[in-house]
Symmetry: C2
Subunit: 393 residues, 2 copies
Amino acid sequence: MFSIFPIKGFIDQIDGFFCDGINAGLKSNNKKDLGFIYSDSLCDVAAVFTNNRFQAAPLKHYQRYKKGFQTNFLLINSKNANALTGEKGIEDINTIFSSLNFSVSNPIMSSTGVIANPLPVKKIIDGANRFNLEAKNGENLSEAIMTTDAYPKTALYEVKLQNGSSFKIGSVAKGAGMINPNLATMLCFICTDANIPQADMQELLELNSHTTFNAISVDGDTSTNDTVLLLANKKSGSYDKEAFKEALRLVMHDMAMLIVADGEGAKKAVAFEVNGAISNKEAQIAAKALSNSLLVKTALYGEDPNFGRIASTIGASGIQCDEYKLKIAYNDVVVYDKGEIFFTQEQEEKAAKVLQQSGYKVICDIGLGEGSFTAWGCDLGYEYVKINADYRT
Amino acid sequence: MFSIFPIKGFIDQIDGFFCDGINAGLKSNNKKDLGFIYSDSLCDVAAVFTNNRFQAAPLKHYQRYKKGFQTNFLLINSKNANALTGEKGIEDINTIFSSLNFSVSNPIMSSTGVIANPLPVKKIIDGANRFNLEAKNGENLSEAIMTTDAYPKTALYEVKLQNGSSFKIGSVAKGAGMINPNLATMLCFICTDANIPQADMQELLELNSHTTFNAISVDGDTSTNDTVLLLANKKSGSYDKEAFKEALRLVMHDMAMLIVADGEGAKKAVAFEVNGAISNKEAQIAAKALSNSLLVKTALYGEDPNFGRIASTIGASGIQCDEYKLKIAYNDVVVYDKGEIFFTQEQEEKAAKVLQQSGYKVICDIGLGEGSFTAWGCDLGYEYVKINADYRT
C-alpha cells in the first residue's frame, strides 16, 4: 500500500537537487536558454534516447561514459541541438565541461534547437560559469529548455509508503512539435530521492516509455535529440518498486500530456483509442496512424466529424480490419457500427459538439480481437504552418 | 525503333472512344460531376487498385467480374466515393447500371469524393440517361472527375513504329491531395487503340506504377478509391511492346507530375532524389519519408534551406545511414558533405535561391551503396489546412 500526492513546486523541492536557468546569449530578447540540474551527492542515472540514426552529439557523449557511472551535474541548452555536428560536436561538449570554474563528476549535456549548426561554445562556457549551484529556481530551468513550447512543463509528486517513509519524484520537460512526431525534440529530466536500485531505474524507465512518450512520439520516428533521463540521489532512503513504478508513470504521463496539448499551434488534445485489434501491436499501428494523419488532424481542426477519414486511415495502416466489424465513436457518440452509418442530422450535431471540445476521445473498435492501444494527438491548423515555416528565423 | 509525339486533345481523339461530362446535381453550382468513357467496340481491361483494406464499392464491383472480361462503358462520378457503404454500395452500382436507357457490356464504375455517404443513386441514373454516347467532349469529362483539383489532368501521345503503323494512348486523371499520400484519392483512366495483348496490359501497368504513381503515393498508404484503369480497343492493329511500355510510362508520369504539382494549396513540386542507399528499397523508404515529412514540407513552404530537417528525416526513416557518409544538396548547391557543413552565408543564399523556384531537386547521397529512388512531393502551406479543414462543407 502506498499513496501518491501531487505537490506544488519544481524538482528543486526534492532534497539535494538544485537548478536554475539563465540567458547565455543563445536566444535573443534576453530569454533563458541555458540551465542546469546539480545534485549535492552523486546520482545513479538511467536514460532512454531517440532511435534516430543520427544521434546528436550530447547523446553520443553520454554513451561514452561507462555503464553504471554516477553524475552530479546536467547542463542543458536550447536554441542549438548540437546535432549533425560530427566529432566536433562531442569535442565541444568536452571543451565546455573542462572550462567550468566549478568541479563536477561525469557531467551530462543535453541540447535542443536547430540541427547542423556548431554549438556556440564560448557563450555556453561564459553562461555556465555564472551559475549559482546552490540555486533552487526550477521555474527558470523550465523556461530555459523551451524552444517552440508555449508553456513550461513540470510535475512533482510525493509518495508515502506504509512504513511511514516517503520519497519525491519530479520532472521538467520540453517538447511541442508533437503534431508531427517525426522530428519534434522531446527532452525530459526526472529527479528523485527514492532509494531505487540502479537495475530498477532502467527497467522502469523503459517500461513506462511505452505507454507515455512512445504513445505520442518516439520509437523509430524521432528527432536526433530525444532524451529521457532519470537521476536518483537515494537521499530519502525510502523505496518500493510498485509505488515508484506508478509514480514514475504519473510523472511521464503528465509530461506526455502537456507535450501533446502544446502541439505547435494546437487547440485540441485528442486520445485515439483503438480496441479489438488482433494484437496490441496492430492497435498501436492504427492508433499512431490516426494521431499522425494530416487529413484526420485537419478535420479535427475544422471540428468536422468526418469519420470517413478515420476509417480510411485505419484501412490504410495495413492492420487486419473489416468494414463489417468496425465501430467508430467520438466519445459516446457512435457514428459507424459494423457497416451501418449512424449519421443522421441529429447524430452529426451530437458528434460536432464533441469535436468542439478542447479534449475528447476518438474510439475505434476493430472488432476482431483483444488488442488495444491509445495514442494521443492534436489538431493541425494554420499556426502549425506558421511556426514551422519560420522556425529558424 | 519508334517515335512518340505528344498531340493535342483528349482521349476522344483515339479512334472508337467517346466521352463527356455533365452536372447531375451532385456538386452545387452546376459544376460537372458525372462522366463516361464509351467505346464503340469491346475493350480489354487492366487495373491497379488501392492497398487500403477498406476498398470502396466500385473496386469490389469491378473485382466481381471474371478475369479477362471485356467492357465498353465506364461511368465516373465525383463528390461521393461510395466507400464504407458495405454491400449496399455494390447494390447501388448494380441498380444504376440496370436502370440505364442504353445497353452496355460489363460496365465499370469509378467514384471519388466523401467517404461513408450513400451514393445518390437516382441523381446518377437520371444524369447518365442524359448522356450522348456519341459525344467527344474530353474536356467535360476531365472536369467532371475533379474534387479539390485546381485544374484538369490529361495527356495524349501518338506512337509511330518503324513499320509505318501507329497507335495512340491518352489519359484523364484526378488527384490533388498528394501533399498527404495517406488518403488522397487518385483516379486515372488510360485509353489506347494499340493492339496490345491482354497479358501485356496488366504487366506494363503494374511495372510503370512503381516509378510513377507509387512514387507520389499508393503502395499501402492509399485512399479507399485509388484506381488506375487501362482500356484497349485494339482498333489501330499496331503494337510494339517496348514502344507501348515507354508511351504508357510517359502518360503515367505526366499524370503523376500533374497530381504532385496540384498538391492541395501547393506552390512547389519537389523531387526527392535519394542515391547511394544500400538498396533501392531503402532509397525508396528515405525518399518517401522526405516527401511525406511535415517539417520538411513546411520548410519548403517557408523557402528555408533547413537541411537539418532533411538529415533528421533520413535518420528517422530507419534506413542504414551514417552522418560521415551523407551528402545533401539542393539542385547543385551542396550544403552538407560527409560530416562537413557547407553553410556559409554565401552558400545559404545560393540554397535559398534554389528554394525560391517552383520546382527543384533535393538530392541526398547516403554514400553506402547503389540503391536509388526519386519521390515527388510538394510544400505545405496555409492553403492545405484551409482546404482540408473545410472539405466536406
